[in-house]
């Protein structure tokens, strides 16, 4: 494996499957009386969050703690960062505190890449979401969830079709998922109004469509993305009602899907907007499970990046 996890591109197929397999074993820990492993004892994981994201932060925090790592939460709000401290200075501060891994969430695309490549810091860098770029651990937990239900928790996702629906343009979840699904042999289909698809989408790996109803019957899973409030005022679509009518997942649309098809959502959901409550709570929905799987997958990533020797991990053995 590479030293850092900045993009879903950092994982090849074998490595992605290894993460999922490792997560599968680690998921069993949550059924045990002592939900803790000593593996990362004495290692320090810093959650460096320049953007609020309670869900992702506590997921990484739980994952780190279950592996016995020391966790330091560094929230940019109320810290020297809000007083204009640069990313470089923050990184160097963490370096002198002996951080072994930095889990970074940043509003600016590419910030984790800088942290990983600029020699400011020796720590392993894990991207917990950067701007409108990527969110690779979210993609891993989505892949894990799909694999568990549709591939008996084993191997890759060869042959599956997955629709990703909503604000593809601004979604880091969509980007990482498109890459990882492709790596694992599945076919992602991006579904959105043309205004919310990036220019050049036709060159992405995968397919795209403006018509949710046409796509739904073909797919094995559908991933509904949250529609941010600020998009509504920026003329990406006329009204929330029209959006919901064309791109919202409701019970009627769910009926057109295959029986085994899964409904995923990275959360938090806008019930009634991109997904109705009925669908969110249906038996096809695995939204709640995604949260638990998130902890297992992040444990796997932390273990695989941090559990071994610090030297470039031998790719062949």
């Amino acid at each position: 494996m590479k030293k850092h996890l900045v993009s879903a591109h950092d994982l090849n197929k074998d490595e992605a499957v290894l993460v999922l397999d490792t997560a599968k074993e680690l998921a069993l820990i949550s059924d045990r009386p002592v939900k803790k492993l000593p593996t990362l004892r004495g290692r320090t994981v810093v959650n460096l969050f320049f953007e609020d994201s309670t869900r992702t932060r506590i997921s990484f925090e739980a994952a780190s703690k279950r592996l016995s790592a020391d966790v330091i939460n560094f929230s940019a709000k109320g810290s020297s960062v809000s007083k204009g401290e640069s990313l470089k200075d923050t990184a160097q501060t963490l370096q002198s505190m002996g951080a072994d891994a930095v889990v970074i969430r940043h509003g600016s695309s590419g910030a984790p890449h800088l942290l990983a490549t600029r020699n400011w810091i020796d720590a392993v860098v894990i991207n917990a979401g950067d701007g409108t770029h990527e969110h690779p651990t979210q993609a891993l937990l989505d892949a894990y969830t799909i694999r568990k239900h549709l591939r008996n928790n084993e191997g890759d996702l060869n042959g599956l079709k997955v629709a990703i629906v909503g604000d593809i343009l601004h979604s880091r979840v969509a980007r990482s998922n498109a890459i990882l699904l492709k790596t694992l042999g599945a076919t992602p289909i991006m579904v959105a109004p043309p205004t919310l698809l990036p220019v050049g989408i036709e060159k992405w790996n995968g397919e795209f469509s403006y018509d949710l109803d046409e796509v739904l019957p073909q797919v094995d899973a559908v991933m509904m993305l949250r529609v941010q409030q600020e998009r509504m005022s920026d003329a990406y679509f006329p009204t929330t009602r029209e959006y919901s009518r064309n791109f919202g997942l409701n019970a009627q649309r769910l009926k057109t899907m295959q029986k085994h098809a899964l409904v995923l959502h990275p959360g938090p959901m806008n019930r009634g907007m991109e997904i109705t409550a009925e669908v969110a709570d249906s038996t096809n929905s695995v939204v709640i499970e995604q949260v638990a799987n998130g902890v297992s997958v992040r444990m796997a990533v932390l273990y695989l990046l941090l559990g071994g020797s610090n030297s470039e991990t031998g790719e062949n053995n």
């Binding site: 494996m1 490792t22 009386p33 492993l37 559990g307 071994g308 020797s309 610090n310 030297s311 031998g314």
Partner: protein, 186 residues
């Protein structure tokens, strides 16, 4: 493996020897624990798991009882994690009965430094509280680095540090069963 080390390899146990050794271990376990009550066998992956299954099978042949068998992956408890690249995890499966108040017998192929068993004891500690823990191994090759000993040994084989002991089992390695000692690194 160099041609030279291959030449110096010698077979110390053949398939039939392994089978006999496991039978004896099964008998000793029953004798030592005055029957099969509360026994749980936990194999340490990878080769400890089929060995545990075969010991259980022998016990079944002798006593007509099914004793619970599971597996215990100790990777996350190893003390040399930081010395090597991270390894893939093996499967841990604790029998439904659990291990609380049971006599847990850890099964592995080779007992060497004792560090694997130490890790297994730590792992057990996070899973439950057995009444007693015992250790069964096919080969004890000596060179202990921790105060750990096996309760049941298939065969004691004195080795030098530079030799390697290779256990081959049909259901893990898919070839002729044997225990081979060869010079030099594996």
């Amino acid at each position: 493996m160099s041609a030279n080390s291959r030449n110096s390899a010698r077979v110390v146990l053949e398939s039939s020897d392994i089978s006999r050794a496991l039978s004896r271990i099964a008998h000793e376990i029953l004798e030592n624990n005055k029957g099969s009550k509360d026994l749980v066998l936990l194999g340490i992956p990878s080769r400890g798991v089929p060995l545990a299954n075969r010991i259980a099978q022998k016990i079944n042949e002798f006593e007509k009882v099914n004793i619970p068998v599971g597996s215990l992956d100790i990777t996350m408890y190893r003390d040399d994690l930081r010395l090597r690249p991270p390894r893939a995890l093996a499967h841990t499966e604790i029998p439904d009965e659990g291990i609380d108040h049971k006599i847990v017998i850890l099964v592995d192929d080779v007992l060497f430094s004792g560090r694997t068993i130490r890790a297994a004891l730590d792992a057990l500690n996070d899973i439950g509280r057995p009444a007693m823990v015992q250790v069964a191994v096919l080969i004890d090759r000596g060179h202990r680095e921790l105060p750990i000993r096996a309760d049941y040994v298939g065969k004691n084989i004195p080795t030098s540090m530079s030799e390697s002991v290779q256990v081959s089992l049909a259901d893990v390695d898919g070839n002729q069963e044997s225990v081979i000692i060869s010079a030099g690194e594996q």
